[in-house]
Amino acid sequence: MTSGHFNLIWPVKDESTTSEEKESDGDREDESSAIEPSTIKATLVDFEKHSATQLKISSDQFFSHISHAINIHPTQRAVSLTGFSDGDYYAQLYDASNNPVSNTVMVTVEHHSMFKVWVIFTSGAALFLILIGYMVTKVFRHKEEA
């Protein structure tokens, strides 16, 4: 995930016991370089044993230190999270008695490479300055021609 923002979805399973591909879906602008394929297809599977009331996020897979505990309405099936810095994060759904009711999903946040950012930013800035320059010198000072 390249902008620290991602969505976790856990749709309802259908009648057959095989789970659907539930994707950890986020800003996918840069699939080719910034993210490894295995981290995109993370499946958050609700075991459907008890209603999930909390989503816990941690930086380690054993959840020894919880960084975010987000309250979930029992019928909620998606959540949008944001503002994460670079790193790996683990997410799991819990019920009211703190038992896990889903598998664990890993999301890797890796912001766009700064080189790419600067190239695009500076080319945009350059063109923008040229436009502003033209507008200030010619357009804003234009006097009506006779």
Binding site: T2, S3, G4, H5, N7, D27, E29, D30, S67, H68, I70, N71, H73, T75, Q76, R77, A78, V79, S80, L81, T82, G83, F84, S85, H111, H112, S113, M114, K116, V117, I120, F121, S123, G124, A125, L127, F128, I130, L131, Y134, M135, K138, V139, F140, H142, E144, E145
Partner: protein
């Protein structure tokens, strides 16, 4: 959200109430429309109050109220500041609005300008760009209406979308640009007051300290001024906004409708007054995490916070504000696009000798037709709102330099402009698909700029400005 803060009955009542008031307004103003100029250009004499309000209202779309919070939620500070820089479109257009009124006081559309200034081929290319954008915007607005009502009240998407379109088509059809402008004025006030109330309650309830500390601890990137993705999007979004305003008949028709001497002031004022609004709506989104609110999907963060802070009343506020934002843009778009179809396509290509009375009738039919086509495309709800509009960035950004240079330079000729529009658009689309949506407008503008520069160096068209003054006679 899995509960609907507004009941279906309330939603329908609000819609019916607005519908009746707006359509009556449209009918009442429309009685005084005698001529084509009255219908399309509100008599070409609109004063500063209405002018400023309509420019503001039209640029405040559902995006300003829904996407600004969404982008702030996703990209933090830069999301809202970047979004508010879209005001530059209005501000930079201000002197151009004055120039347009001076150069072609008898003109009707931006198509008129391109046709006379650059010739027929460039004009066709330009019309293609204009229509792609206009339909993209129309459909995204129609869809936004349906989605909003569905989320806030459970009213089905199809019903909500249909009702909003019917209302807007109704009063635009009856009253023309005067109805559009007058309703815009009321809608501006409604939007601003609504946004202020929600923003103020948010500020009172949550406070800056808590927002700052909580986000710093748990969502630090939101406060990051060097947020990589946001920096990447910044100029692309600016060029997208500039392209939207510089090329679209929505803004050109207003430049022609305003009284002489009003255009520059109105656009400057509206730009400066518009600028802070995405910051206020964006701030609401920054407060979401500290309130423990994490939306199902980021585009609902605004309404979610409002409903949380103000209860069901907050949801009603959101409804009214977003409805006003939608309607004030939909009506403008319907009117301006109908002008283009009527004047450029019908009058320009099909029936060159049509009388003004006939064009007046045709333009009403076109509004109806556009509303219907929009409705058809909105029905299947094919794509997400953001993606739809982003796509048009490649198209509109290619028009920036041709238009600015065309208004102030006599050298630039039509063949280079055609190349700039076509190749710019294609480059933008290639960038969109190979790299990402955040380079579409940028690539398009860069390529278009380079071609225009070559055109300026290589050939001198020596355009005679009088040809634009004499527009009517050349028919």
């Amino acid at each position: 959200m899995d509960y609907n803060p507004i009941s279906i009955t309330t939603a329908l009542m609000l819609l019916v109430l607005f519908g009746i008031v707006w359509i009556f307004f449209g009918w009442w103003l429309g009685r005084k429309n005698k001529s084509l100029d009255d219908f399309m250009l509100a008599g070409r004499n609109v004063g500063l109050a209405f002018a400023g309000a309509t420019a503001m209202a039209t640029w405040i779309t559902s995006n300003t109220t829904l996407v600004a919070p969404q982008l702030t939620y996703e990209l933090g500070i830069w999301g809202m500041v970047g979004y508010s820089l879209a005001a530059l479109g209005l501000i930079l257009f201000a002197p151009m609005a004055k120039r347009i009124k001076e150069l072609m006081p008898k003109g009707y559309t931006c198509g008129d300008f391109i046709r006379v200034r650059y010739g027929k081929t460039a004009w066709i290319a330009f019309l293609v760009v204009s229509f792609c954008y206009a339909m993209g915007w129309l459909v995204s607005l129609g869809m936004a209406g349906g989605v909003l009502l569905d989320t806030l009240s459970g009213l089905s998407y199809n019903v909500g979308m249909t009702v909003i379109l019917v209302i807007c088509v109704g009063y635009t059809l009856l009253g023309g640009l005067k109805a559009v402008i007058a309703t815009d004025y009321v809608q501006t006030i409604i939007i601003i007051v609504g946004v202020l109330i929600i923003g103020f309650v948010c500020y009172q309830t949550v406070g800056f300290d808590r927002v700052y500390e909580f986000n710093k601890e748990h969502h630090p990137e939101l406060l990051n001024l060097l947020f990589p993705a946001a920096m990447m999007f910044l100029f692309n979004n600016i060029f997208f906004g500039l392209g939207e305003i510089f090329h679209s008949n929505v803004w050109w028709s207003r430049a022609l409708a305003f009284r002489p001497g009003i255009g520059k002031k109105a656009y400057l004022m509206s730009g400066l007054l518009w600028l802070p609004i995405p910051i206020v709506t964006g701030f609401i989104a920054l407060s979401a995490p500290v309130l423990g609110l994490y939306p199902d999907s980021s585009d609902m963060v605004g309404p979610m916070v409002a409903a949380n802070l103000l209860g069901d009343l907050g949801a009603i506020f959101v409804f009214i504000v977003v409805f006003s934002a939608l309607a004030s843009s939909l009506d403008s778009l319907l009117a301006a696009t109908s002008d283009l179809v009527t004047r450029d396509i019908y009058n320009g290509l099909i029936d060159k000798s049509a009388s003004k009375e006939k064009l007046h009738r045709i333009s009403k039919l076109v509004i109806l037709g556009l509303g219907f086509v929009t409705w058809l495309i909105c029905l299947p709800k094919i794509t997400t709102l953001g993606a739809l509009l982003n796509f048009t960035g490649a198209f509109v950004a290619s028009t920036i330099w041709p238009i600015v240079l065309g208004l102030y330079q006599r050298r630039l000729s039509g063949d280079f402009v055609t190349a700039a529009l076509v190749l710019g658009t294609i480059s933008g689309l290639i960038g969109y698909h190979t790299i990402g949506f955040y380079v579409a407008a940028l690539f398009s503008c860069i390529v278009s700029f380079l071609i225009c520069m070559i055109g300026l160096l290589v050939k001198n068209d020596n355009f005679d400005w009088q040809r634009l003054q004499n527009m009517e006679k050349s028919q």
